[in-house]
Every structure is written in structure tokens, then in C-alpha cells.
């Protein structure tokens, strides 16, 4: 009798790796990013970002919309920096059509772009500590967001998808007294932001979780095409606002916040310091807006047709470089509008940042890459 008896005591399973899917539904991927991990205990052996759960075919949709309608689509891929997104598309079309945007509109656009940057950064400044386990900073961040949202809502009517850019300028003139109210809001935020700063930036546990975790060196950031706060935290000193100025940045002194450590904490710090810088820039722009009289848009023909040709307009979006490559054949729709998004490039670095770290580190790194899934999947 050689019956095979199976008893469950053995070490048959020892040494096998656990496969864990973080996402597409997971509280830390804010969206539908999916990471397929191989774990050895809690250590990540390999990580593969799987994207595309939110692919909406934005580029294909651009090709069947006229240039006015495109702006609606462009502000949706990165829903946290809607104004900057539509700005890039508008710039591309204006450049191709040779439209000179009125001075007042340029300065207003710059102010709004900076406010949008602050709104975007505040979102991450709140959500990142939340992922590390600190539940309070998010409410402080959102208090400031709410203050600025009110200003943005007043001028544009929207809280998220502003749709305030038009080809050739802005949708309409700012309401009377808006600039002073915006300045007040900026002052208020500047006054209260140190609350958030003191609460989390130097917190011992926060430092223990983020310093030296998820190190991305400058070379690697460059190799992956990372940009924005993520790249600047690694020492890649590149900011389009200073290095290839668009809008009114050429006549502003833009301080670029750079760190060299390249870890999660420096990414967070870049974001935090950037907020101070952007608030100051926005205030300067608002001062200029008050001095300039004139229209905020130009009269467009009934049918907007970009002449045949191509152009690439890139802007320093809150999350990094956002580019639109516009190819026109002289029709009222673009023949091709290629979209280069910041998050897409930044998320690439995950596959090298994650292996070798622990699961809690993974969350810390994921949060510090500051991506929006819509911006990744387009």
C-alpha cells in the first residue's frame, strides 16, 4: 500500500514570491494606475506599471474637433492643471495662426497659470502626507485650495475645468475688483501656508519615511525624460519658464526651486517651496494686470483655420513639461495633435524606483511622483 498522503506542514511554499496587484483600484494610486509587484516578504523584487485603464483617445478626438472645441478636451487629461493644459493648446494654435495676444491677456494668463500651479501643488501637498499616514495636512491644504478656488471660480465660473482660455486670449474680462480680491486670497494663503509647512515638512516620522527613499538621480531623471518638480528634486535644473520663456515669464524673474537629493522628501520640498514662489509670481502678474488697459482677446474669424504647417508648443505645467505638437493642413481641425504629458514620462521612472524597496516605501514613492492618471493615460 503506497498511498500518497498529503499533510499540510511542509515548506513547499517557502521561497515562492508573492504577486501583488496594487490597483487599478487602490487608495494610493489615486486613479486607476495598476502596479504588478513581485514581493519577497515585504520587499519589492520587480514592479511593472500597467497603464491605460483610463485611455480616452484624447489625441484621436483632437483630430475631429475644431480648434475652439479642442480646448475643452485638453483641459481634461490632467484635471488638476486644467488651465495650464488649455493654455498650451491655445499657444500652439496662436503660434501657427500668427495671432498676437493682447498684453493684458498675456499677464492675466500668467497669473492664472501660476494660481493653477498652486492649486495643483496644494492637492499633492495634502494627499502625499495622507498616503504616509498623516491625516491632518490634507485639510490644511484644502483650506488654502478652497480660498484660491473661490478666486478662480469668480473669474472663470469653473472650479476644476476652467475653460477660460480662448484662441487669441481669454474668454472674457475679469470681474471688476477681481485682482484685488485675488491678491487678498494670495496674501491669506501665504499667511496660512506655514501651518501646513510646520505640520509636516520637518516631522521626524515623515523624514524617516521619505529621506533617502526612492532616490532618482539627475542622470536617470534625464534618461526617463522626467520633468517638473520630480526632475528638479533630482538636481535637473530645468524650468521652461526661465529657460524658454513663454507668456510673460520672459519679463519676470522666475526663481527655480531645485534640490539635489532626488529622494521623496526633496520632491515634496520642491513642491512646497514652489508654492511660495508661484504665489509671489502670481502677485507680480496681478500688479501688472492692473497697470495694463486693453482687450483680453482678439476677434477671430467665424471659422478658425490654422494655416498649413506644424509647431510644437511646450509649457511648464505644474507636473512638468506639457507639450502639444500640432500638425495642420489648413483645415479647421488639426491633422494631428500629439500630446506630450508630464505624468506619462514621470511614471516611467517607477519601474526603476520601486524594485528593492519595501511596500510602505512603494507608497511613499508612488505618492511623491506626483502624477495624475488621466495625464498618464491621455
Amino acid at each position: 500500500m503506497t498511498a500518497e498522503v498529503t499533510v499540510a506542514t511542509g515548506t513547499g511554499g517557502l521561497g515562492t514570491d508573492m504577486v501583488l496587484n496594487i490597483g487599478p483600484q487602490h487608495p494610493s494610486t489615486h486613479g486607476v494606475l495598476r502596479l504588478r509587484l513581485k514581493l519577497d516578504g515585504e520587499r519589492v523584487i520587480s514592479a511593472e506599471p500597467i497603464i491605460g485603464y483610463m485611455h480616452r483617445g484624447a489625441e484621436k478626438l483632437f483630430e475631429v474637433r475644431d480648434y475652439r472645441q479642442i480646448l475643452v478636451l485638453t483641459n481634461r487629461h490632467d484635471w488638476l492643471s486644467a488651465f495650464s493644459n488649455e493654455l498650451g493648446a491655445a499657444l500652439a494654435v496662436e503660434r501657427l495662426m500668427g495671432i498676437e495676444v493682447p498684453e493684458r491677456a498675456v499677464w492675466l494668463r500668467t497669473a492664472l497659470a501660476e494660481l493653477n500651479r498652486v492649486l495643483n501643488h496644494l492637492m499633492f501637498l495634502g494627499s502625499y502626507p495622507l498616503e504616509i499616514g498623516a491625516i491632518t495636512p490634507v485639510f490644511y491644504a484644502f483650506r488654502e485650495r478652497e480660498t484660491l478656488q473661490a478666486v478662480m471660480e469668480e473669474i472663470s465660473g469653473g472650479r476644476m475645468h476652467y475653460m477660460f482660455n480662448r484662441v487669441g486670449g481669454l474668454k472674457e474680462e475679469a470681474p471688476a475688483g477681481w485682482t484685488s480680491r485675488a491678491r487678498d486670497a494670495i496674501g491669506l494663503v501665504e499667511k496660512r501656508l506655514p501651518d501646513l509647512d510646520r505640520l509636516i515638512r520637518r516631522n521626524d516620522i515623515f523624514m524617516a519615511r521619505t529621506v533617502g527613499v526612492g532616490v532618482l538621480t539627475a542622470a536617470q531623471a534625464a534618461a526617463y525624460g522626467a520633468s517638473g518638480p520630480v526632475a528638479r528634486a533630482s538636481g535637473l535644473d530645468f524650468d521652461l519658464r526661465r529657460d524658454e520663456p513663454y507668456l510673460a515669464y520672459g519679463s519676470l524673474k522666475v526663481p527655480v526651486v531645485v534640490r539635489t537629493a532626488g529622494d521623496c522628501h526633496s520632491r515634496f520640498e520642491v513642491l512646497l517651496d514652489q508654492v511660495y514662489v508661484s504665489l509671489e509670481l502670481a502677485r507680480q502678474c496681478l500688479d501688472r494686470v492692473d497697470q495694463i488697459k486693453g482687450p483680453v482677446n482678439v476677434r477671430l474669424p467665424k471659422v478658425v483655420k490654422a494655416p498649413e504647417g506644424h509647431t510644437y508648443a511646450w509649457t511648464e505645467n505644474p507636473l512638468g513639461i506639457n507639450g502639444y505638437y500640432l500638425v495642420s493642413r489648413g483645415e479647421k481641425t488639426p491633422w494631428r495633435l500629439k500630446l506630450r504629458t508630464a505624468s506619462f514620462a514621470n511614471v516611467q521612472a517607477l519601474s526603476t524606483l520601486l524594485p528593492g524597496c519595501l511596500v510602505p516605501d512603494l507608497i511613499a514613492i508612488l505618492g511623491s511622483m506626483f502624477f495624475v492618471v488621466g495625464d498618464v493615460d491621455k
Binding site: L20, V106, I135, L199, R209, A222, D237, F238, R288
Partner: protein, 435 residues
């Protein structure tokens, strides 16, 4: 006339039953209250109002939530181990309730004419019962993680078991100092031992020291407080249920009443460790100093229940405060903290305390005492001033970049000057800055 160990075990059956029901009701009400309290406190810390819809000040919010939970669908995962999956929350809750049996609420009271201590029972090893119950309660968490048959709960269960083993050691060691001072493990007698301060003599000065062990044994209290947070899985040590990492940790797959039981157990554990801290370190049910000046009545009858509850609520506030303030530790940092900081610190503190007690008790000659203290100080200094290996100096970034091997990825220098593109030049030239 305060209750001692000998006063227990003489109650009527119906008084015992009454006390059991009393403790049960106290814990359930405390849980409901603590949930509201936590949400309200944390809300005030986060510049928002918190629950305010149900009942006055939203007090009935947790009752409503509890009822809601009861009506939720009870989900049993397909891959779950059915029996263990069911047992886990039961174990958690039963252990949580049992631990409270030895917590003294007050001195002798009269219940329907029967004079009885306001404490369910007391045994010579009462404090160990709490440790045993918290140790068994973790089985609930670990088993729920295993029985759910899915990855996140399993990771949560694994974390929980390691966490519990480590922090129970630290917790037990921190309590040892209390045993040494009180000379007993029975809770009622530990409370008695803290009733009066004593006369001490240090370097020729005589002074009266207060009785609360939080003052006498401050290091123990600190270690107890830290490990209590770890033991109850509360932030910043809430690794088994870290929701941003493990979704829900061990209770990811639980719903309905089973989930409610975990919730109940977590809050009761919080109340229990707070009550134990009150009993061991904060003088138990005795009124604090300024109130004792009002007269002896403050420590008699039912009044002590009030002081006890107030102390409890203050400790619970600290739990909530921590949760509102601190981020979560990483797993390995947390374990390292337990094993390399808390436990050695406990051991050294116990050793120092034992040495101190020995020197006080026996009449050592002065020179010998001086020798001991001197030797101790030398060892301490040697540890503190031991030379450390210096870390290699960090190269400046430029040199690090220059040292990279041939053929590395091209990297722009940090002070890169990007030439202004002709297009941008044209735009800026066209537009004169407005003054």
C-alpha cells in the same frame, strides 16, 4: 478603608452578574462615545466641524453607524477559511471584553445594600491577565488576515503578529517597574500603593514624593504609553490596517457585523490600555491633588468613578491627538524602534531602579555607595562617548558626475544655460515690458 485582594471573591451571584453587565455596558457605551469623541476631536484639529447631524452635537452618530453596519451585507470571500474567518472577530472581541474584568473603577460602594468594591474581580496576577488577553486578542487579527484568503489581509496579519510579539515584550518590561515599586500585581493594591507619597532622601535632602507612579517611574510610563499605542494598532503604529498601503489590512474582506466586532474590539482595547495606564501610573480612581483638598468624600462612594473616567478620557484624547498629528512609521523602522530602543531602555531602567532600591534598603557604607555610583557613571560616560566611525565625506555633485564611467547617460550640468530659442527671442523683443 480601601479594597485589597482579600476583599474579592465574596460577592453574591447577582452582584457579580450586575457587575459583569455593568462592565459590559460601560465598555459598549465607552466605545460608542470614543468613536464620536475621536471624530469630533480630530475634526477640530483639522479645521472642520465633525459629526453634527444625529442627536445633540452628533452624539448619536456612532449609534447610527453601528446600526447601519448591522444591516450591511455579510460577505464571505470564496477563498476564505470559513470557520476561522468567523472565529477571528469573535476572539478579538471576547478578549477585549475579558481584559476589563480586573480594572478597578473605585473603592467600596453600596449596591442595593451590599458593600462591595467597584471592580469586577481581582487576582494576584491581575495585570498579567490584561497582557494575556491582549496577547490572545491579536489572534483575532492574525487569523482574520490568514483566513481571508487574500493578499492584503495576509500582509496585515503578518505585520500584526510580529508587531504584537515585539511590543508586548516592551509593554511587559515597562510594567515590571510598577510591580517592583508596588510589590504586587493585583490592580486594587497597586492603586492603594499610589495613594500616599513617601519620604525620600537624596544626597542628604529629605523630601516628600508624590505617590503616582507616572512621576516616580516616568521612563516606564513613557515606554508603556508608546507600546500601548503599538499594541492597539493605533496611528502612528497602525501598520496592520494601514489603509494607504494595505487598503484595510486584516479587515479588508470583512463587512457587516463581523467588521463591527473588529471595530468594537479596537476601541475597547484602546479603553483598556488607557484604563490600565490610569490604574498603574495615574493613581487609578483616586482624585488628583487639588481636588483631594476638598475633603475625604472625593475618594469615597461613587465619586471615584468620575475621576477614573476623566483620566481615561484624557488618555484617549492623547490617542486621538497622535492620530491627528503623526504620519505612519514604516514597518522596519517600527520594529527597530521596539527592539533596539524600547526594550533595551526598559531593561536598563529596570536595572537602575533595582540598584537604586537595593542601595536604599540596605545600609551600605557611604564609600561603597559612592564607588557603585562612580562606576556606574564611568560606564555611562564610556557608552556615551564611545568613538564612532566617521562616514565617508560626501563628494560635491560635480565631482560625482565627473567620476561616472565612460559612456554614461549624458547629463546636463546643474548650472545649464539654455540658449533662448529664436522664437522666444522674437516674442520678447516684440513686446516691450510695460512700465
Amino acid at each position: 478603608m480601601n479594597p485589597t485582594l482579600a476583599d474579592f471573591g465574596h460577592d453574591n451571584g447577582w452582584i457579580v452578574a450586575l457587575k459583569v453587565v455593568g462592565v459590559f455596558v460601560f465598555l459598549v457605551v465607552m466605545t460608542l462615545f470614543t468613536i464620536w469623541y475621536e471624530r469630533k476631536v480630530v475634526a477640530r484639529m483639522q479645521v472642520r466641524p465633525g459629526p453634527n447631524r444625529h442627536g445633540p452635537f452628533g452624539l448619536l452618530q456612532s449609534l447610527a453607524d453601528g446600526l447601519k453596519l448591522a444591516f450591511k451585507e455579510d460577505i464571505m470571500p470564496l477563498k476564505a477559511d470559513r470557520v476561522v474567518f468567523f472565529l477571528a472577530p469573535v476572539i478579538s472581541t471576547v478578549c477585549a471584553f475579558t481584559a476589563f474584568a480586573i480594572i478597578p473603577f473605585g473603592p467600596f460602594v453600596s449596591i442595593f445594600g451590599q458593600k462591595t468594591p467597584l471592580q469586577l474581580t481581582d487576582i494576584p496576577v491581575a495585570v498579567l491577565l490584561v497582557l494575556a488577553c491582549s496577547g490572545l486578542g491579536i489572534y483575532g487579527i492574525v487569523l482574520s488576515g490568514w483566513a481571508s484568503g487574500s493578499t492584503y489581509p495576509l500582509l496585515g496579519g503578518l505585520r500584526s503578529s510580529a508587531q504584537m510579539i515585539s511590543y508586548e515584550v516592551a509593554m511587559g518590561l515597562s510594567i515590571v517597574a510598577v510591580f517592583m515599586m508596588a510589590g504586587t500585581m493585583s490592580t486594587s493594591e497597586i492603586v492603594n500603593a499610589q495613594a500616599k507619597g513617601g519620604q525620600g532622601e537624596l544626597f542628604g535632602f529629605e523630601f516628600t514624593y508624590p505617590g503616582w507612579y507616572v512621576l516616580l517611574l516616568l521612563p516606564s510610563f513613557v515606554i508603556y504609553a508608546i507600546s500601548a499605542v503599538g499594541e492597539t494598532n493605533r496611528a502612528p503604529f497602525d501598520l496592520p490596517e494601514a489603509e494607504s498601503e494595505l487598503v484595510g489590512g486584516f479587515h479588508t474582506e470583512y463587512s457587516s457585523l463581523k467588521f463591527a466586532l473588529f471595530f468594537l474590539a479596537e476601541y475597547i482595547n484602546m479603553v483598556t490600555v488607557s484604563a490600565l495606564a490610569t490604574t498603574l501610573f495615574l493613581g487609578g480612581w483616586r482624585a488628583p491633588w487639588p481636588i483631594t483638598q476638598l475633603g475625604p468624600w472625593v475618594n469615597q462612594g461613587w465619586w471615584p468613578l468620575l475621576w477614573f473616567t476623566i483620566k481615561l478620557l484624557i488618555l484617549l484624547f492623547v490617542f486621538v491627538w497622535l492620530r491627528g498629528t503623526l504620519p505612519r512609521l514604516r514597518y522596519d523602522q517600527f520594529m527597530r524602534f521596539g527592539w533596539k530602543v524600547l526594550i533595551p531602555a526598559s531593561l536598563i531602567w529596570i536595572l537602575a531602579l533595582a540598584g537604586f532600591k537595593t542601595m536604599n534598603n540596605e545600609n551600605l557604607p557611604g564609600w561603597q555607595r559612592g564607588l557603585w555610583i562612580g562606576g556606574f557613571a564611568v560606564i555611562l560616560l564610556a557608552i556615551l562617548l564611545w568613538p564612532r566611525k566617521r562616514p565617508a565625506p560626501k563628494l560635491p555633485l560635480e565631482e560625482e558626475v565627473a567620476q561616472r564611467p565612460e559612456g554614461s547617460f549624458p547629463l546636463p550640468p546643474i548650472d545649464l544655460q539654455v540658449p533662448v530659442s529664436p522664437r522666444a527671442k522674437r516674442i520678447t523683443a516684440d513686446r516691450e515690458p510695460v512700465q
